[in-house]
Each structure stands twice: as C-alpha cells, then as structure tokens.
Homo-oligomer: 326 residues x 2
C-alpha cells in the first residue's frame, strides 16, 4: 500500500477526521496496516490528530516542493525544463550525473527534499535536512572548452547571489570562488563537477545547496559560527522555496545566455561587484604552497589576481582562501 | 575446468604431443571437455596440431603480454607501478575510471589484449583486435587546476611520439592536438578524460591506443587510406609490445616530472618540433564556426595560434582539424 493513496483520502476531506474503518475499507487493507502508514507519514513530517472515536485528522503537511507548482512558476525556458524530484536521495549530484551519462539534455534538474550524503567541495559533507533547504543539481552542456569550466562556477555564484539578494533583501556576498556568505557565515554552496574528453567539456553537473529555512538546532553547535540560513539571518522568518528556485533558474539562464553570447567579460564585472574577497588581506593555500596577499580582481580566464606584499602580482587558479595570519 | 591448467600441461611438455587420455586423467575431466577447451584456446589465438593417435601439440601461442615481464623491464617508477591486465574488456577507460573512483593511485595502469568497445575522440570507435596493439589506460592525479588539463594531452602526445620514434625509427609526427601519424596515416590515438570539482582536477584517465602489429586485413578497406600500423609502416616486420610500453611509460614519466617542475614551456618546444600541423593551411571546425588559416604554434596555455588570411591571429582551444578547402 502506498502512502499516496492515504494522503489523497485526507486531501478529499480537508480539516476533517477520517475513520480508520473508512480508510481500511477504501484502501482494502487492515486497520493495523493503516496505523503503520500513518506512523510512516509522521516520520517524514506529517502531523495527525488521532482520536479513538473519530479516526485520524491531518493537521499539517511538511513543506514539500510540488513539481506542478514549480513548473507553473517557472520563468526560465531551458533551465529546469525537466524536473526529477525525490523525497530523499544519497546525493543529487550522483543522480544528475547518471542522467547526463544517459543523454539527458541541458537544463535537466534534480531536486531532493533531503540528501543522505550531500557533497561539498573536496569531499566535505553538506548538512541537507528534510524540506528545509534547496538541494539540487542541474545538467549543463556548454560548448566552451575545458579551459573555461571555472568561469561557469563564478557565473553560477553571481546568478545565485543576485537572485537571493533580490528575493530575500539580505546582504549576501560572494567569497572566492563560489561560496555565498551573510556577515561572514556561509548560506549556500556551489559545486560544479566537470567531465571532459581532451579539451572538450562533455557535461557539467552544477550542484547548488541553499540553507533556506534551517534553524539553529539543525546545525551542530561547532558549525554555528561558520554557517547560517536565510531564515536565521532574516530574524526567524522563512522563505518560500519555490520562489527562490524559479527566480534563481531564471537569473542563471539569463547570465548563461549572456555568457554564451558575449563571453566572460560581463560576468567578471558582476562578480567583482558582489565579492567580499577583494581588497583585503587573505591567505591562499594552493597545491604549490601558501600565498599571503590582497586579492584585487579576476583575470580574463577567471583566475584570481593577488597582490603580494612586495608589490608583485600572482595569478591563483585554485586555492583554499582563509583569514590572513597576523 | 580452466584453460590455465591445460596450458600448464603443454608448457610442461614443450614441442611434444600430449594425449587426450593423459590430459583427461590429469585434469579429471572427460575427453569431450578437453576437446572443448582446445577449441576455446584456438578461438583466442592458440594453434594446435591434433593427431588422433598422438593427441594434441601446441604449435604457437598468441602474442600475449606478461605482467611479470612488463614489470621486470619497467624503467619508470610511478607510471605502471600497478598493472591490471585483462584478456578482453569493453574499454580500458571504463575500468581505469572505476579504479580511480575507488581511490587507485597515480600511475595505475589498465592493459587489455582486446577491447570490445574501444573509445576514440567524440564517441568514435577504435579498432583494437586481440594481441596486435597496445590498448591501455592510466590514472593521473595532477595537482594542476582544470585550466591546464589540455596541456597533459599535448604532453602525452609528445612522450608517445618521442618514444615510438626512438624504438621504431619510423618518421612519426603529431597532428594537433594529439594524433600520431606516419605519412598522413594515423597509428595511435590518445584520449584524456578529465573529472574535475570546480577548478580542481580530481583525476585524469589517459587512454592510449597504439596500432603496433595490425595487418591490412585487420582494418575495414575504407579505413586503409587513413590508418596504418607500425608493422605495416615498417614493411611487415612487427615490434615487441613490451619494449614499446616500458619505453613509453619511462619517457612519459620523465616529461610529466619535468612539467610538474618547470611548467608547460619545455613541452611546447618539444611539441612544436614534432608537429606536422604547423605552417601549412588547415581548416579548423570549432563549436563556434569554421576557421581557415595557418597554425603557427601553441600559446602558453596549450591552445593553437592560427594566422588567418587577413594576417590576424586567433587562438583555437578546441576544433577538428582537416584539410583546407581549395
């Protein structure tokens, strides 16, 4: 017996008690089976009032994304044109990669209410509890060569930052290359996994995690000085995830089309305007060694230009950026 | 019953007939089972003389690579330090990728005698029959950022070209970016599949196919004006595959270490010296359109600099290179 048919029964009788006997008859299962399904729904966020005499009443549903609602609000044409929604997955990146290998087109979107094993940069984990954030991955098939893959990472950060600033009116900035911060605390992560054959990009899986409605209790204590959510930053009032997703997909698609037509120049300007990493001392840990200096901008390829203490500049392609050591 | 035990019996009696009855007794199987195993061995290149009175005599074995022999001749330290050998696989790239995902270290080498579904550039097939070529894939884990992945493709072509010229003394040149040609016909293909997380290369699977001892009859007729083998180009005399593999791995490792230490500059010089694509008109078909011009060299990133008819130069990152249209 699927919980879908049980939920339909409650949707047909909103705000009313439905007797266990009626459910049992309608679905053709035992009353014990009905009770087990109610428990299962409670475990994923549904709340019921159970009365011995009257039966069960649905009090509240978890905040669940609805694909028809998403599609009806969608302003983008390609991005999100096909949506694969899951209650719970190991990682949306893995599913999107499988779809890409099977030939799914650009713009195919995978969204999950919950990730068991969300992935961040460098194999780090990512807190992604049920229904409280946006955990999604999208397939890109750009015709740019592999040299320019990092530009897509920066473009995605710009699109997400612009969209979230507009929807939430919160002071969000970009930490190089692609973390979004509010007052120094991380509210979203972007991870672009590229697959290339020689110099040709075959596809890119863009993973986006946005901590929308998480509460302080959703995070381990030791993380609270490093991470926050849009809701916490907004004084406790949450945001509608459907609005955030559809607005972001639209902004992202616009910038992507601009990039395909005009190149990386316009994106550099937008990125630099939103960045919180420029013009202040930083320590950059690269595979080749540590660099102390002041990041002053992006070069034409998307690498970071850093002015060192002796006045010379270096180009940094890949690094972990941290606070300067004083 | 494994064919290995049957082969051992013949190795213990070199040049002699072994009776079906003796084999049947020694291996504890029926004489019909023995006959079936002989047929199986014949199907993969072993030749037997069968006498009703005397039994079977092993006439010749297929040219099969021996891992202990490869390891004993190996001059490289990291490249090929671990070898996974297979009689037949779908594609060595797929196996190496799986090993890389499981954490196999840099230098892990996958070699197969035969590929059922060898892959070339852009999803094209690759003729890779039993025992006549070198079909292999190696895991690289460079600490260079993704921007520089194409440099590894050019480096690999230089290493293979230098090594094959030394071992075979044939006039081999590099067609941009990484095909090796003898008198305009392709004798090897290189395919580097990169996997990256944002700007970090996670690993690169370098696939190398070398047509060593193939004969004209191994190719479809319509391909014979485009491809050749070292053996055909050498007037019918073949080459020892173990020597080619171990010499190439050594050259490749030397250039890779040079690249990690000194950067791409020295590789540009070597590539340009061996290239057959420079200073003659070509048509380059890029995702953005067709360019007619004369390739004049590599730029510092590894892209091709092309002089157009009007005297201006363009940088080409990715293209199919063909003959100019006259």
């Amino acid at each position: 017996m699927s919980t879908n048919r049980l939920l339909e029964l409650f949707e047909q009788n909103p705000g009313e008690y439905v007797s266990g006997e009626l459910i049992s008859q309608q679905l053709g299962v035992s009353r014990t089976a009905v009770w087990k399904q109610i428990k299962k729904l409670e475990s994923i966020g549904y709340q019921f009032d159970a009365s011995r005499r009257l039966g069960y009443k649905l009090i509240s549903s978890p905040d669940t994304l609805s694909v028809p609602e998403l599609l009806s609000q969608m302003k983008s044409k390609i991005f999100g044109s096909s949506i694969h929604w899951f209650e719970s997955v190991d990682s949306t990146q893995n599913i999107a990669q499988k779809l890409a290998e099977e030939g799914a087109p650009e713009g195919t979107l995978v969204i999950a209410e919950q990730q068991q094993n969300g992935r961040g940069r460098m194999g780090r984990g990512w807190v992604s509890p049920q229904g409280k954030g946006i955990w999604m991955s999208m397939i890109l098939r750009p015709s740019t060569p592999i040299h320019f893959a990092p530009q897509l990472t920066l473009l995605t950060a710009v699109a997400l930052c612009r969209s979230l600033r507009r929807v939430t009116e919160l002071p969000i900035g970009i930490k190089w290359p692609n973390d979004l911060l509010i007052e120094g605390k991380k509210i979203s992560g972007i991870l672009l996994e590229s697959t290339a054959e020689d110099e040709r990009l075959r596809y890119v899986i863009a993973g986006i995690g946005i901590s929308v409605n998480l509460e302080k209790t959703d995070y381990p204590d030791e993380m609270l000085n490093k991470v926050t959510s849009l809701r916490i930053a907004n004084g406790g009032d949450g945001f509608d995830r459907t609005t955030i997703i559809t607005d972001f997909l639209h902004e992202w698609e616009q910038l992507y089309l601009l990039y395909c037509e005009k190149g990386f120049g316009p994106i550099i300007t937008l990125w630099e305007a939103l960045s919180v990493s420029l013009n202040q001392p930083a320590r950059l840990i690269t595979p080749q060694g540590t660099i102390d200096g002041v990041p002053i901008g992006l070069d034409a390829s998307g690498a970071l230009t850093v002015r060192k203490e002796d006045g010379s500049t270096v180009i940094v392609f890949s690094a972990e950026m941290g606070e300067p050591v004083r």
